[in-house]
């Protein structure tokens, strides 16, 4: 009797200890996850609430979690300082064209490189990949000259300026592919079984038809990654619009935010700066909210291979 008790007690104790350790680990893991979530999400929460606070409340410590008195004054102020809606619209137009351009051009090139056999194919692909290693700053000055010439040329030719002071320099490059996007799409296209296109080919489908009716419908995840990436890239771009657009009413919303830097020291515009930042953040955050699954998977794909 005593013997059994003495042998069973340590086992019992161990299992209790083991269970406690599991529980302890779980508490630590969840504790850290919650702490990090708060740290990472707090600035966004702060932005969302501060935009609706009165100036007096904005400077109160501790900061109120929910505005005591909701106000739209900050938004009114923001719209006074910069043509915010106009800028948001400009940015949307740029983003939509850039998304269209990058989905079309990158998927066509990636399809050809992944699936079609033609002379110089691997040389072209290799040459494209080398462009990833050269920092864009080197072409900053020559690119501005280039787009200035393009602007003169298209104005003379068709009466439309597609160069400097138009959205041309911001959207036309997206129709000329990006090496990284082609690479990512090629990786994806390589996983689509060859039998599908062979069957279509026997049925007499052209290569364009195979691209359009077989590959594109099967590639939604990677098209989504490229599209979302292009949208976010264009939306958050600062340097491009800063250089190529000059008038406030044709600027993008991100550059519009920098207009507050000259005024943000003054107390009146503090809240307005938040309101403008919120307006600038909401479209990308909304997109991210709906599409994060694809985006995160795409980053893993691009990072690993």
């Amino acid at each position: 009797m005593a013997a059994t008790a003495s042998t069973s007690t340590p086992t019992y104790a161990r299992s209790i200890l083991g269970r406690n350790r599991e529980t302890f680990k779980l508490i630590v893991v969840y504790g850290l996850m919650i702490l990090l979530t708060v740290i990472l999400a707090y600035p966004f929460y702060y932005l969302a609430t501060a935009s609706f606070k009165t100036t007096e409340e904005l400077f109160r410590y501790p900061p109120t979690l929910i505005p005591e008195k909701w106000t739209l004054d900050n938004f009114r102020g923001a719209f006074e300082v910069v043509p915010l809606l106009r800028m948001a619209l400009n940015t949307f137009v740029i983003c939509l064209i850039a998304v269209t351009g990058s989905i079309l051009s990158n998927s066509l090139a990636a399809f050809a490189i992944a699936r079609l056999r033609f002379p110089l194919r691997s040389i072209i692909f290799g040459a494209m990949l080398t462009t990833l290693m050269i920092p864009g700053w080197i072409s900053l000055v020559p690119a501005y000259m280039f787009w200035r010439d393009v602007g003169r040329f298209t104005t003379n030719l068709i009466g439309i300026n597609l160069g400097v002071n138009s959205i041309g320099p911001l959207v036309i490059p997206s129709f000329l592919t990006s090496a990284f996007a082609v690479f990512l799409m090629r990786q994806y296209f390589l996983t689509i079984p060859k039998e599908l296109e062979e069957a279509a080919r026997i049925d007499g489908a052209s290569f364009f038809r195979i691209y359009w009716s077989v590959f594109l419908p099967l590639s939604f995840p990677v098209l989504a990654v490229i599209g979302i990436g292009a949208f976010m890239g264009s939306w958050n771009d600062v340097l491009g619009p800063l250089i190529y657009l000059s008038k406030p009413e044709s600027q993008t919303i991100m550059v519009g935010l920098s207009y507050f830097n000259s005024q943000h020291m003054s107390v009146i515009y503090r809240g307005s700066r938040f309101a403008a930042a919120l307006v600038a953040a909401i479209p990308v955050l909304t997109l991210y909210f709906f599409a994060n699954k694809y985006l995160i998977r795409g980053i893993v794909l691009g990072g690993l291979k």
Partner: protein, 318 residues
């Protein structure tokens, strides 16, 4: 007959090409292929042209306003930007701070990935939150950050409440602005966990089972198994992180916007300086030369990274 075709095929590539293009089916394939990559080829040609032109322009002097074409001036631009104490060299020095911070960012994203790799519920949501900083524009982040770290802002309110009577004057002293920017970068390092997590999940479970059988504790498992097998991922993040850090622009542009009340020359990085030369100071030749120097600095650092990888990167898995 068959043997001669084989030898022909291996000896003469061009004749193979010609024969291949003779078949209508393959001709269609080749033409379609060329047509589909045409935009990429045009883009590549423009890219190459612009970069060569960039080198050429770095040896010239002109201004955007004058109608005169760029005039060759030899190494003058390089002498100006590389003389001791020049704005550009100072900018490079400041950028080095962000380059040296890359390992810290990697350590942060790696630690978060370890946490996100634990088998508990809610990981999907956690991942989504971790990636948030990467989708938000620098202008938005800086708008929030400069307020959180203002003299009477929430951070100083917190510091006062825990007994620090004179908290830092974040938006007046360059050093404290620098600290606040590094804190923003540390916060912004979280998205890197997605890549680190992919690396963690690629490690086969067998290694951990074997470690358990041998009685290894959690720390030993981390140091002896996880870390060595993660070195390829860490190396990948280091190379790309260093290349990116040398080109830090957006955050500094918003934090110390040139030409405004809160412009702070002492925060400008190399790339902000390039932008200033090229457009604000109307010295595009100097801007082009600075960009070339920055490109060379990046090249040297990348070569150093690639050369030292043999010492610590472990490719046993792949």
């Amino acid at each position: 007959m068959a043997a001669s075709t084989v030898t022909k095929r291996t000896t003469s590539k061009s004749s193979q090409l010609l024969r291949w293009l003779r078949s209508p089916n393959q001709r269609e394939e080749a033409l379609t292929g060329w047509l589909f990559v045409l935009p990429a080829v045009i883009g590549f040609i423009i890219f190459v042209y612009l970069n060569f032109r960039g080198v050429e322009l770095s040896f010239t002097n002109w201004s955007w306003i004058s109608r005169r074409p760029p005039e060759p001036v030899g190494w003058t631009n390089y002498q100006a930007i590389l003389q001791p104490g020049s704005d550009f060299l100072k900018g490079l020095g400041r950028t080095l701070i962000y380059v040296l911070f890359v390992p810290v960012s990697i350590a942060i994203s790696f630690s978060i990935a370890l946490l996100a790799n634990q088998a508990v519920k809610g990981q999907t949501l956690f991942r989504v939150v971790c990636y948030l900083p990467a989708v938000t524009g620098a202008g938005v982040l800086v708008a929030v950050w400069t307020f959180l770290f203002s003299v009477d802002g929430p951070v100083n309110g917190f510091l006062r409440s825990i007994g620090i009577a004179n908290p830092p004057r974040w938006n007046t002293l360059t050093e404290w602005k620098q600290v606040a920017i590094l804190l923003l970068l540390a916060w912004g390092a979280a998205p890197g966990m997605i890549i680190a997590l992919a690396g963690l999940q690629a490690i086969p479970k067998d290694y951990y089972d074997a470690a358990k059988v041998d009685g290894a504790n959690a720390w030993q498992t981390l140091v002896r198994i996880t870390l060595p097998l993660m070195t390829p991922t860490l190396f990948f993040q280091l190379v790309l992180g260093v290349i990116g850090a040398w080109q830090t622009f957006d955050i500094i542009y918003f934090w110390a916007t040139p030409g405004t009340q809160n412009a702070d020359v002492n925060l400008w990085t190399a790339s902000v300086q390039i932008y200033q030369y090229a457009f604000a100071y109307n010295k595009p030749g100097m801007g082009a030369a600075s960009a070339i120097v920055l490109g060379l600095v990046i090249l040297v650092f990348t070569i150093i990274n690639l050369a030292t990888q043999r010492r610590w990167v472990n490719y046993d898995l792949s």
